[in-house]
């Protein structure tokens, strides 16, 4: 949905992605308008599968020009793809596809907690978060809580990115809403449905961007606008704590 909103706002010239849509319903209408009709501006598209875009980020994270894979043979994604080449296997096996490195200018990742140096603990859904954080030229960590450094150091296996790779740390509770954050926030599904319905037309999208982006000076206002009971409805109150892990030496 975030892709679609940025596209609809005219902020995007080129998309490199495996999927652009809305988890509520499939189609991203702003994406379609841009791709099909150049509204509000023409859009260049580099299509991927989840694995190939993941490997492109992973290649950058590993510091190599490409990673080999078997995904994509027989399909149109890899045909004439600017970032994918068919290569012979130097060990005599079948050909592989080389997916070229993708180095984002900026990655923004939201985590549960980080210290002031940017050492960040993340748990729950990972997807390609870690690869993106390592691949990017600059990585910005937003977090539910800035915690004392001893909290991070109590569980170094939970650290997904060391602070020396992090450009900035932002404490922004609820910063991933309406998406979920394990142990902190439930997904707020209604905004996904609302956006999907509203963004069907340019006028609807413009109104939506006004109401939910341009008129929102900060996250607190966003939470207020979600409704008086938003925090109560969405904040996780239960506790299901990870089993103890002892790091004593």
């Amino acid at each position: 949905m975030a892709f679609d909103q940025l596209i609809g706002a005219g902020a995007v010239a080129r998309v490199i992605a495996a999927w652009v849509g809305n988890v509520a319903g499939g189609s991203g209408y702003a994406f379609r308008r841009a791709f099909e009709h150049g509204i509000p501006r023409p859009l260049a598209m580099e299509d991927h599968s989840n694995f190939s875009v993941g490997l492109a980020l992973k290649a950058a994270a590993m510091g190599v020009p490409y990673l080999p894979t078997f995904t994509g043979f027989g399909g149109d994604i890899v045909r004439d793809h600017p970032r994918i080449r068919q290569l012979a296997d130097p060990f005599g096996g079948p050909d592989v596809l080389a997916v070229g490195a993708l180095r984002p200018d900026v990655a923004i990742i939201h985590v549960q907690r980080a210290d002031r140096q940017g050492n960040a603990h993340l748990w729950g859904n990972l997807g390609l978060t870690v690869e993106a954080a390592y691949a990017a030229r600059r990585t910005i960590v937003t977090c539910e809580e800035i915690v004392p450094e001893e909290v991070i150091r109590s569980d170094p296996n939970r650290t997904v990115i060391p602070g020396f790779l992090v450009t900035a740390v932002v404490e922004e509770p609820g910063g991933a809403l309406p998406s979920s954050v394990q142990g902190y926030w439930r997904r707020d599904f209604q905004p996904f449905l609302d956006y999907h319905r509203t963004s069907r037309t340019v006028d609807g999208l413009t109104a939506w961007l006004g109401q939910w982006v341009l008129e929102i000076p900060d996250r607190r206002t966003y939470l207020e606008r979600l409704g008086p009971q938003a925090r109560e409805r969405l904040a996780v109150r239960d506790q299901r704590l990870a089993a103890a892990a002892n790091f004593a030496p």
Binding site: A17, A18, W19, V20, G21, V23, A24, G25, G26, S27, G28, F31, R32, F35, E36, D47, H48, S49, N50, F51, S52, G54, L55, K58, T69, F70, T71, G72, F73, G74, G75, D76, I77, P94, W123, G124, N125, L126, G127, L128, T129, V130, E131, S179, S180, Q182, G183, R186, R187, F189, F192, V236, R240
Partner: protein
Amino acid sequence: MSIATYTRRELMVVAAAREIRDGEVVFVGMRLPLLGFGLAKATHAPHAIGLFENGVIRDRPAEQFIYTMGDPPNIAGAIACLGLIDVMSLLQQGRVDVGFIGGAEIDPLGNLNTTRTRTRDGVVRLPGSGGAGDIASLAGRTVLIMEHEPRRFQPKVAYVTSPGHFPGRRRGGPATLITTLGVFDLQGGMFRVKTLHPGVSLQEVQAATGFALEAATNLATTQPPGDDELDFIRHADPEGFWTGDTMRS
């Protein structure tokens, strides 16, 4: 039990569940396959393991309804929550027996298109591959799930997002197609009606298919859901979000 007592999507969930054998490693998608996986676990395949492309591995369904595979209830109680590259690597290693994918268009070789197509009004952009192209490329076999409409069944899809059968394929390929009208055998590049859903005629299916169908002379009827199966589905999708009669996407 009459056809009025269950929806076509409920029947499709049941048909999907039957494609999972006990002990298999299953690349699960959202929507109908997710319900099918849970149903299979609850009935004939208690030892099946489910992989999600975001990195989650589960051996039991989520305790609450989920909209996306990254939603917190899909992580809580999982066996493992790894990254996308990790589970895609297992897929690429050949550790996944069966994967489920859907498409907007299909052709006789089982190629699926979810990227872009062309209508009289011009180009239509679809969301893209997501993980579908990877599952189609790398799973031991795939089960395809589709709405059965004439415009979706094309002699040749406009874009091959998820490759079907093709010369030189190293592994896998479409095994079964489950539609709103019937179940089809796609093994080895065939495209043959296997069972028709209750109340559906072969003529009806052929009319909804943009290419000639093969069929056995004595066609069986798709076994309808039993009461236990319906109970499971309605417990898992209490509001009919995925299995109600109105398609959401």
